[in-house]
Amino acid sequence: MKLLETLLNGLSSGSTYAMIALGYTMVYGIAKMLNFAHGDVIMVGGYTLYVSAVMMGIHPLLALLLAIICCAVLGVTIEKLAYKPLRGASPLAVLITAIGMSYLLQSVAQMIFGSADRMVRLFDLGRITVGSMQISTYTIITLACSAVIMAGLSLFVKYTRIGRAMIAVSEDKDAAQLMGINVNFIITITFAIGSALAAFAGFFMVLKSPPVNSTLGAMPGIKAFTAAVIGGIGSIPGAMLGGILMGIVESFAQTNPVIAPFTVAIEFSILIVILLVRPSGILGKKRREKV
């Protein structure tokens, strides 16, 4: 029973990671860049929830909608201001700009809200007792929501026009452009979707633990990023797999008192081991380099 409980906790935190990792992986697949600022979009989502739900007293679900819109707009703005001018420049330059952007968002948030934690209590979630097991409602909500979102995303990418255009752009940008796909629009849409997913992740994180501060998204961002790389960056099922793997490893490591302090080290060691065995991640496609 204890095992099952740990597994469920792992699945729920893993699906939060998967949600963030999806943002990383979609942006990487289409814009071929690592969006380091993605983790901080989560933090912006958290603060939006704080402002709308706690300060203004809007209903939490409406606040979530507002957070999604805010994050999507923010993601698109970042792309237009910081990444678009560098399209075609060296990957190193784009990477450093993304790091700078992450730093900038954190600083701005800290300037506006200060360094103290802000409490965001949205719902009063209880626990459900099943047999001898106690499961928090948060776990179930997160699992259900993320299952729906991931399924929706997979269907969207597979069956809609825009989704298929996304696949085309990620395969070959120039050829897609020749086929009449508006690459700029697709990149914008990708950033918007990725950031909206980050808002969802922020919502789940706030449900789990109410305090919000300017580094809320930093560590989960890096972990989800690691998860995306483990699963094979650029691959949507890979991000889900990596995220859930990450969550399960984390929850099992935390239940063992001996190795609990080393959770972070274990998680990152998995990354190094997997990249040693499969340099492009578990489900990543191997790309041959051409001159």
């Binding site: 790091i99 900038l104 300037m111 302090p261 040693l276 380099e289």
Partner: protein, 380 residues
């Protein structure tokens, strides 16, 4: 010949400046009338200079992004502090300098060993993947030192270390900066350095030319880690206690800011930026207290983003070529850019990217007598 002399002078001016600074403050230091904040600033500047220069080797010359430089420094700092404690206990007082040298070697070698370990996966990965692996490495190292049993490295409270005499340490620091600079400059100017820069410009082309990419990547990682370890040991001697929170992700970013600000691929630039940022950190800490302390991070982030966009944006290429210092200086000297000098390969500047587009875009005119006529060929 006169040109050669000119170049040599330019090459060594940075050493002269460093020696001059060390001597100027060293005289006051030996007389022990230097105030506390100045010595701390000088020590911090020395540590930052070594870190920035060694990171520049990876970022600027190898062209790979390393986000775990603070991790290597952390290894050096902890092992240096531990060795210093043991050696001081064993050898008693009076041998401080010897202890320092042994610690530097121990810390440097330990960090270099970590560099090999992290360099091995680096051989198989490139670009973005490498950045995340180095980031992961930094976090692993920090969390290991923080969470190992308290008897080993002091846990989250930090490891006790030996504070070196503050009137002398910065002189040793500057000597180390000069040594680091000498090693790195000679490495870059050597055959091996050329190989490293060629990997940066095009890995495939370098491989096609018979350069052992694996070997050079490992070499660069190891050398860079070695000097980061040395900086860590130096840092441990400036503190009474080495704390794990010092070496977090943000510290790696701060070193990266120094490298970017000074110019990727310019060692002298890194030195200047390292001193500038250390100085600004100290000054702004006094001016910006409380909530205003955030402004510092904001400033760094903005500078980094704007600088990178300005230097790299393809749309600004024309603007950059029109308004840059070199062109301005050339105009002052009435230098004609159209005239090609036979001595173009200056040793003070490692050749940067060969502009393939420019080489290939020779205008071929069909009317030119030098181009073979296509129609004629078809008739044959």
């Amino acid at each position: 010949m006169s040109k050669l002399k000119n170049i040599k002078w330019k090459q060594y001016i940075v050493y002269l400046v460093l020696v001059a600074v060390a001597c100027y403050f060293g005289v006051f230091g030996l007389q022990q009338n230097l105030n506390r904040s100045t010595t701390i600033l000088l020590e911090k500047a020395a540590v930052a200079m070594i870190l920035a220069v060694s990171l520049n080797l990876v970022v600027g010359f190898l062209g790979e992004l390393s986000l775990g430089h603070a991790g290597f420094m952390c290894v050096g700092a902890y092992l240096g502090a531990k060795t210093a404690l043991a050696l001081t206990a064993a050898m008693g007082p009076g041998n401080e300098l010897l202890v320092l040298v042994i610690c530097l070697l121990v810390g440097g070698v330990a960090a270099a060993a970590c560099g090999v370990i992290i360099g091995l996966p680096a051989l198989r990965l490139r670009g973005d993947y490498l950045a995340i692996v180095t980031l992961a490495f930094g976090e692993i190292v920090r969390s290991l030192f923080e969470n190992l049993p308290d008897e080993m490295f002091g846990g989250s409270l930090g490891q006790q270390s030996v504070r070196y005499d503050r009137y002398q340490l910065f002189i040793i620091g500057f000597v180390l900066v000069i040594l680091t600079l000498a090693v790195l400059q000679n490495l870059i100017r050597s055959k091996h350095g050329r190989a490293v820069t060629s990997i940066r410009d095009s890995e495939i082309a370098a491989r096609a030319c018979g350069i052992n990419v694996t070997k050079y990547k490992l070499l660069v990682f190891t050398v860079s880690a070695f000097f980061a370890g040395i900086a860590g040991v130096l840092f441990s001697f400036t503190q009474n206690k080495v704390q794990p929170t010092t070496f977090d992700y943000n510290y790696s970013i701060e070193i990266l800011v120094m490298v970017v600000l000074g110019g990727m691929g310019s060692l002298n630039g890194s030195l200047i930026a390292a001193v500038l940022i250390t100085y600004l950190n100290e000054e702004l800490q006094i001016v910006l207290t409380g909530d205003l302390a955030v402004l510092r991070g904001l400033l760094y982030a903005l500078v980094m983003i704007l600088l990178i966009i300005y230097r790299n944006a393809p749309a600004l290429k024309g603007f950059r070529e029109k308004w840059n210092m070199k062109r301005f200086i050339d105009r002052m000297r009435k230098h004609d850019p159209a005239k090609i000098h036979d001595d173009e390969a200056k040793w003070d500047r490692v050749p940067t990217k060969i502009m393939v587009d420019e080489v290939l875009s020779v205008d071929i005119q069909t009317s030119s007598p030098y181009t073979p006529d296509k129609r004629k060929k078809e008739e044959d």
